[in-house]
Amino acid sequence: MSKLMIELTINGKKRKVETTPSTRLLDLIRDDLHLTGTKEGCGKGECGACTVIMNGELVTSCLILAPQADGAVITTIEGVGDGENLDPVQEAFIETGAVQCGFCTPGMILAAKKLLEENPHPTEEEIKRGISGNLCRCTGYQKIFDAIKLAANRLSTRDGGRGEKDA
């Protein structure tokens, strides 16, 4: 199979990668860029474990060919938070116990972040719809809803939600 070079911005860094026309973006992220926070669940777009944000949109990276992401700006779970501090959504997931085995968590957090970006005060129904593309098989959804509500409250306070801790 022929090879080609693609260029993308991933978690703020420009990367050039050699790939093939039929490599999935998911495999490029995991195997070539070694960003293994993005998981493979079903490989058919139904479970959301491979969710990333591409050009501002929530997508399943198992259903995208690597060359389709040429020129794209991508955020994976490794790009959430600043390396030192967790993102308020991540903190909320830990505090409410919304992480058990953790396999769905990267996709869940990206879906939650995207939801709160578009809709800072979602209702429970809107939360359910926002993460409807992400399956969890062990934590249970209630704690995930609680985490998203907590994050929404934190984010709506002016200091970005670190008020309680820093005080």
Partner: protein, 296 residues
């Protein structure tokens, strides 16, 4: 957005339709056209290596536009379900197309999947197909040699089968703008809300005459009840020219039940689908009844 086109033997992403058609006619069966990939990449999940060459339509800007000229709307084939769901023009003129798009898959799928892909995939359960038929859609098919306009009804010939010829591209969907007195209802039945293939879908569109009580036109289109999306035309003779107040909703529901011939499959039995078809037809008529009354 910065968009580059990588020249590569196995992957083409041209910026112009003409160029795409030229590549398509050169490679024909050797090339796979890819839009959102949400159906195609599942079909090729464990045999991606079989695809020699891809023709990606992502860089063709005009295929992502929703345009109104005179009394028609043209929706580009690469318009995503998210765009259909959120477009103010679609919500205004073709509300049930917007609602059907909102019921597809998940946020991730709606952000990638396209109207053109939903049509070309030609699943009997394709969520947009019954609404498109109900709004009298025509599909614009282009090849190097010719341009053709085909009605939704003629386009689908079987499960996953269409009249699309080799090296022909679906570039747009043409919809006549409906009158202000047009009312629609969309109902999708499935085992869960997200990421479900429909057990049955109904798109009912009723146009009232100028007196605002006589039915001028009606289209009753269903998905997942036949090898292709279908219209139950027998409903027309019972409704057109009649006063909406005098319609027998139960009888109309019975006609839908009697005229469809669904199969048993993992999503539901023939009997269940016939039963549900009748009931959702009655529900849709009731919904249109109340929308029409509050509009008067």
């Amino acid at each position: 957005m910065h968009q580059r086109t990588v020249p590569c033997q196995g992957y083409f992403a041209p910026q112009k339709i003409e160029k795409a058609l030229e590549i398509f006619s050169r490679y024909r069966e050797e090339i796979k056209v890819i839009a959102g990939g949400t159906d195609l990449l599942i079909q090729y999940y464990d045999r991606l290596y079989e695809v020699g060459t891809w023709l990606d339509l992502k860089n063709i800007k005009e295929l992502k536009e929703i345009k109104i000229h005179q009394n028609q709307m043209e929706i580009g084939a690469m318009v995503t379900h998210t765009q259909l769901e959120k477009s103010e023009d679609i919500k205004k003129y073709f509300p049930i197309l917007s609602q059907a798009a909102a019921d597809i898959g998940s946020p991730q799928i709606r952000n990638r999947g396209t109207i053109g892909g939903n049509i070309i995939n030609a699943s009997p359960a394709g969520d947009l197909l019954a609404p498109l038929m109900a709004y009298d859609a025509q599909f614009k098919l282009l090849s190097v040699q010719k341009e053709a306009l085909i009605s939704a009804e003629e386009f689908f010939i079987g499960p996953k089968k269409t009249i699309l010829e080799p090296a022909q591209l679906l570039t747009g969907i043409i919809l006549p703008l409906p009158s202000e007195r047009t009312f629609g209802c969309w109902i999708k039945i499935g085992k869960r809300k997200a990421l479900i293939i429909a057990t049955i879908t109904l798109a009912l569109v009723v146009e009232m005459a100028e007196d605002n009580k006589t039915v001028k036109d009606v289209r009753t289109c269903l998905g997942s009840v036949a090898p292709t999306p279908i219209e139950v035309k027998e409903v027309r003779e019972k409704m057109i020219g009649k006063n909406f107040n005098h319609l027998d909703f139960n009888q109309l529901g019975q006609i839908v039940e009697d005229k469809i011939s669904p199969i048993d499959d993992i999503r539901g039995t023939r009997e269940y689908r016939k039963d549900v078809a009748k009931n959702i037809m009655i529900n849709a008529l009731e919904e249109i009844d109340s929308a029409w009354r509050s509009h008067k």
